[in-house]
Amino acid sequence: MLNHISTYLYQRPKLILRLLLGPPMLYMLVVYLGSLFTLLVNSFFSLNDFTGLVVYEFTLRTYAKLFEATNLGIFFRTASMAMAVTLADIIIAFPLAYYIARFSSTRLKTYLYIAVTLPLWSSYLVRVYAWKLILAKEGIVSWFFELFGIQFILDKLLSIPEIGGSSLSLSPIGMFIAFCYIWLPYMIVPIQTALERVPKSLIEASSDLGANAAQTFRNVLLPLALPGVIAGSIFTFSLTLGDFIIPQVLGNSRYFIGQAVYSYQGTAGNIPLAAAFTMGPVVIMIVYLLIARRLGAFDAL
């Protein structure tokens, strides 16, 4: 019986393909794209300010709200943070990924892999609260600054308007540090994978043809690792755009996109505005990917 089924399937490769791809495609279409579509539809409704009820009529009024100064501020703040975090993670991750891909032995590579992904084994919330303690006014970081008598540097840092605050744990700087840490593995792994795929002979060929280390990096290594960098930056950028826990635990009272969505769909019951806010990161990501493609990031794929 089983043999019959197996023979039947063997002769029909297209049927196998349909059976294997069907369920995930269905899931993708209904659950994933479906909910995105629902969001899109909801964002074109509006909230009646008097009754607090959603008006199910097509309108652009909700989108117009996004362009109010406070809301534009939220977008700007979140996007700037996402960009800063992405850049910092690229700078931190690249040398690490390069070392793992090029210089470490197979054995060491395994250990480093575990070391990089180990933080992901513990709860995200626990790690964020750990950072709150580390960055707190009485925390280890300020203790360290005091120990070396360089408290004034920290004070100066925290007195910078916009990104400073009363302590690291209550400032955008603290959020930035926590974001960089939390998303770092998502940057290291894709870059490392991309670098691993660059044959050693290409680097040797470049230096053989007269290029020094910096020229080889710019002309050969970076272009070939770029798809990995872009993949990593999609993670760090979009995860930062949507996060609402770190801003809530570590930041000041100023909202990020995630927090805005969270509060509008929750207590405020303003689903249309929450939906419109959610469309923001979607649009930002699409623009980001288009720019990346224009810059040739996917040429080496």
Binding site: P199, S207, N212
Partner: protein
């Protein structure tokens, strides 16, 4: 006397306990096509990599036209390499690949394009400039790799088993082409290969490597006709090696010697060879008919086996196969014997 293109002075490259290259001296002359021949792990590629600068000798010195380059990085040496896997940059067009060295040197774009076109003509790929490496066949990539190296007019061109990945026909075609390009540009070529036939057909001189040491340096006919060691005799072509009592019976000395299978004549049992010929009697134990020639395995007096190759000038497969079991007299000219060191 002119300065040698490359000179090795007591060069060693040890990887921990492994002596990849051990205390080697070598001179490669200006303008010659020089092959480094040996099995994998014999140290030939390590020597090449040390000339290119990818590896540094753990002891000794390497001179490029008299200049000590032992500690110079690859980008400061007037040497270019054609890699085994070609190592073309996948994200660049053929034109940009070939122009890479000029671009790094800061040659302006107009001049670059002119030189790239000349190079594409030299390797017979005109009009391919705007393609990507992935759109070319193995043989074409090979030529691009050659053009990319030659455009810099290096003093020495290094080729690391560049024909290894090509099929037989293309390989033979590229052998001829490489040789003619070398004649035209007049640059010293150093060619690493494990294929003895390739080395014999292309080279002006050959160095045979084994276990980190050079066994013999010489012209192809030197290497083939007068192998210096047992290893060379065995690695380059096939050889019959005889020593001890059997050797004494034939040559009068117990010293080991080699004799090539095609130099041995297969005579009738009681034939009388001319003077200066060495003889030994035996029985044909096995016959392999190979069309162009026939290979006989002859058991000689004293117990050793000799391989004899005879061209099938008049014989047919029927004739040769019936020879099995016949008593024969083997003879060869004493000049064709090479006495071997150890």
């Amino acid at each position: 006397m002119t300065t040698p293109a490359i000179r090795f002075e007591n060069v060693s490259r040890h990887f921990g306990e492994v002596k990849a290259v051990d205390n080697t001296d070598l001179e490669i002359r200006d303008g010659e096509f020089f092959s480094m021949l040996g099995p994998s792990g014999s140290g030939k590629t390590t020597c090449l990599r040390m000339i290119a600068g990818f590896d540094r000798p753990t002891a000794g010195h390497i001179y490029l036209y008299g200049q000590d380059v032992s500690d110079l990085p690859p980008y400061e040496r007037d040497v270019n390499t054609v890699f085994q896997d070609y190592a073309l940059f996948p994200h660049m067009t053929i034109e940009d690949n070939i122009a890479y060295g000029l671009m790094i040197k800061g040659v302006d774009k107009k001049e670059r394009i002119k030189q790239v076109d000349a190079m594409l003509d030299l390797v017979r790929l005109p009009g391919y400039g705007s393609r990507k490496p992935s759109q070319l066949s193995g043989g074409q990539r090979q030529r691009v790799a050659l053009a990319r190296a030659l455009i810099n007019h290096p003093k020495v061109l290094l080729l690391d088993e560049p024909l290894g990945a090509l099929d037989l026909k293309l390989r033979q075609q590229m052998q001829v082409e490489l040789k003619s390009i070398q004649k035209r540009v007049g640059i010293t070529f150093i060619f690493v290969t494990h294929d003895q036939e390739e080395a014999l057909t292309m080279s002006d001189r050959i160095a045979v490597f084994s276990e980190g040491k050079i066994q013999q340096v010489g012209t192809p006919s030197d290497i083939y006709e007068r192998p210096a060691t047992q290893f060379v005799a065995g690695f380059v072509g096939t050889s019959n090696l005889l020593s001890g009592a059997v050797a004494k019976r034939i040559t009068g000395s117990e010293q080991m010697f080699s004799i090539r299978p095609e130099k041995i004549h297969l005579g009738a049992e009681n034939s009388k060879p001319e003077k200066d010929m060495l003889t030994i009697d035996g029985v044909i134990r096995d016959v392999v008919y190979l069309g162009l020639f026939t290979r006989y395995l002859v058991e000689i007096e004293g117990g050793s086996d000799l391989v004899v190759i005879e061209q099938n000038l008049k014989t047919t497969s029927m004739d040769v196969l019936s020879a099995k079991g016949q008593k024969v007299r083997l003879y060869w000219h004493k000049d064709h014997v090479s006495h071997l060191g150890n």
